[in-house]
């Protein structure tokens, strides 16, 4: 009885001034909807980045050369020629819990085929590469041991490169492409991995490592741009990383590990870094949305204060007929909470729709999570209670005599 009375009275008073109530609710709707939408997009982005990074490989550790110093000036990480194919061989043979090791040479090159041309990344590598980097073959085959030994001019191309050179979904196996003035025969196409922009893992040409040394990078001296290592399992990653570091330090005759001429990157670290970046952005965006929620809350308080003033006589009457102070307090609080709840409910629906629509445009799968909905509901109720508290207190503390006299 008590609860239905409170609810009925609150509804009655909210519907009493529909325009004012709707405008007040609108403030909350905008706040909640933007929080929901932005958190959804942020979480979607976070998951997408994590899955893109997972697609690079599994249990992956990447060794990159350190920075080259020319007369004391650093040329930046990865510029030194300090890693060799022999390092890769040593890692594979001397460290346990290593599943596969793929040294690779990368170089951007202009590629032409049948009058089309594109500029893309050419990767010279070995047979372990598909294992380490989760590369799967869609059409044709990856190159074999024989082709590596003989520096065969064969190439496996990514689907984006295939689309650029031969047209979407064409079968280029057996066709010829021209890289750095040499003809290569296409022997396979990889399965699409996703990613976009300069991080497109599908816009790539794979050639045997030896072929790359002879015809593309122009260096014949065993240096590689990086070594990708797949640990046997997730648990072994840290151990393998440390062992690789120790092995390379001793092979390069460096005693002080701070002077290392190479650096190691662990896939888990990359994921952690990327997620921390995206979650920072999500927090930033949702705090901005939170500000609009705060403004909405102040709108509620403003409306409630106006209502209390307008209904002074009514409050006086309620007190005179014997309604207790606490009920008057709860009545006004209920009104504020009902306003924010309505706003919260509509806000969640609009936020949900907005995140679906937005995800179509920004190409991110927005994820509206149950916790973010619960949070939005909790926040809207809290906004109602916080901003309704003062007006409700003001109403319940009115003296019935003064209130009845109020004109």
């Amino acid at each position: 009885m008590f609860f239905t009375d409170i609810l009925k009275e609150a509804l009655w008073s909210i519907t009493g001034n529909k325009v004012r109530s709707s405008l007040t609710i609108l403030g909350i709707v905008i706040g909640i909807a933007s929080v929901i939408a932005l958190v959804a997009i942020g979480q979607g982005a976070q998951n997408q980045i994590a899955s893109n990074i997972q697609a690079i490989g599994s249990n992956l550790i990447i060794v990159m050369p350190g920075s080259q110093r020319v007369g004391g000036i650093s040329q930046g990480g990865g510029s030194a020629q300090s890693l060799t194919v022999d390092d890769a061989t040593a890692i594979k043979s001397q460290i346990s819990n290593v599943k596969a090791v793929a040294p690779s040479i990368t170089k951007r090159a202009q590629i032409t085929a049948k009058g089309n041309n594109t500029n893309t990344q050419v990767i010279g590598t070995n047979l372990d590469y598909p294992t380490v980097r989760n590369v799967a073959i869609d059409l044709g085959t990856f190159f074999n041991d024989q082709q590596i030994k003989s520096s065969a001019k064969v190439a496996v191309i990514g689907p984006t490169t295939r689309d650029d050179l031969f047209g979407t979904s064409a079968n280029p196996v057996g066709q010829t492409i021209r890289i750095s003035n040499n003809d290569f025969q296409v022997i396979g196409v990889t399965v699409a991995k996703g990613g976009s922009g300069f991080n497109n893992q599908d816009d790539v040409v794979y050639v045997p490592l030896t072929t790359a040394q002879h015809y593309i990078s122009g260096n014949n001296n065993n240096y590689v741009n990086n070594i990708s290592i797949a640990a046997a399992n997730q648990a072994a990653m840290t151990t393998v990383q440390n062992q690789v570091s120790d092995l390379l330090l001793s092979r390069h005759k460096i005693t002080d590990s701070t002077q290392a001429d190479f650096s190691l990157m662990n896939q888990n670290d990359i994921i952690a870094t990327a997620s921390s970046i995206t979650s920072t952005f999500t927090i930033l965006l949702s705090s901005i949305a939170g500000i609009s929620l705060l403004v909405g809350g102040i709108g509620i308080m403003n409306m409630m204060l106006t209502t209390v003033t307008e209904r002074t006589r009514e409050i006086g009457l309620r007190k005179a007929v014997g309604i207790k102070k606490i009920y008057i307090n709860m009545q006004f609080l209920a009104e504020a909470v009902l306003l924010t709840f309505l706003g919260g409910f509509i806000g969640i629906i609009i936020g949900w729709i907005a995140s679906l629509v937005l995800s179509k445009f920004v190409n991110i799968t927005a994820q509206v999570s149950i916790p973010s909905i619960l949070l939005a509901f909790g926040v809207s109720a809290a906004v109602g209670i916080i901003f309704g508290f003062y007006p409700a207190r003001k109403a319940s503390n009115l003296s019935p005599i003064e209130a009845l006299r109020y004109e």
Binding site: M1, E9, G316, L317, G322, I323, P400, I401
Partner: protein, 230 residues
């Protein structure tokens, strides 16, 4: 029923003290119809507030139905007002946009009385107050002044209070409607309700059986009314 002993009410506004009621003592028995009359500023409104448990006296004792009102706290006062006192105001004080029935059952809000019972009691009170049945579901602001005051009287009756306190109940009504409202009070008094009427008009005061004259915070005259005009 009502017993006032040496009621004094002093309003302090900074250093200025205004004595609104000065050592007022009187009694009202059950079933009486009493008018309290006095010019504005005489202290009759203050007296009504104290009788209505809306305000407390500075000193003195006020007993209502054996309860010493001056000793009660806010919530106990609310409870007392709900159970023992029915108010009728000059300006009706109805909830606009609310039906007649809703207005009448206002003081039953938040109680655990089921809505069916509330409805029955409201209808009964409205019949006693003399409002036609056809108006029960009208909005209160669609009624005439006289009808509004009957709704207010019904609202005062709903809890079957010990006393009905009417503060200038005819102040906003024309002579004819005033007469109808006063008749209603008469009939209620005839059926045993105790009524205290506060007014500044002698015409209205003479409806009662007893008239208490208040002037400058004191009871000037307390007499039985022999020439009742209704």
């Amino acid at each position: 029923m009502i017993k006032c002993e040496n009621i004094t009410k002093i309003y302090r506004n900074g250093d200025v003290e205004t004595v609104a009621l000065d050592n007022v003592s009187f009694e009202i028995e059950e079933g009486e119809f009493v008018s309290i009359i006095g010019p504005s500023g005489s202290g009759k409104s203050t007296l009504m507030h104290i009788l209505g448990a809306l305000d407390s006296s500075t000193s003195g004792k006020y007993f209502l139905d054996g309860h010493e009102v001056s000793k009660l706290n806010d919530d106990q006062l609310s409870e007392l007002r709900k159970d023992k006192i029915g108010f009728v105001f000059q300006s009706f004080n109805l909830l606009p946009r609310a039906t007649v029935l809703r207005n009448v059952e206002l003081s039953l809000l938040y109680s655990d009385i089921p809505s069916k019972v509330r409805m029955e009691r409201s209808k009964e009170a409205l019949r006693k107050a003399g409002l036609e049945e056809s108006k029960f579901n009208n909005l209160s602001n669609q009624l005439s002044g006289g009808q509004m005051q009957r709704v207010a009287i019904a609202r005062a009756l709903i809890n079957n209070p010990s006393i009905i306190l009417a503060d200038e109940p005819t102040g906003n009504l024309d002579t004819k409607t005033s007469q109808i409202v006063m008749d209603t009070f008469r009939q209620l008094n005839d059926t045993g309700h105790t009524i205290v009427l506060i007014t500044h008009e002698m015409d209205v005061a003479t409806c009662a059986n007893r008239i208490i004259h208040v002037r400058d915070g004191k009871i000037e005259k307390d007499e039985a009314n022999k020439k009742r005009n209704v």
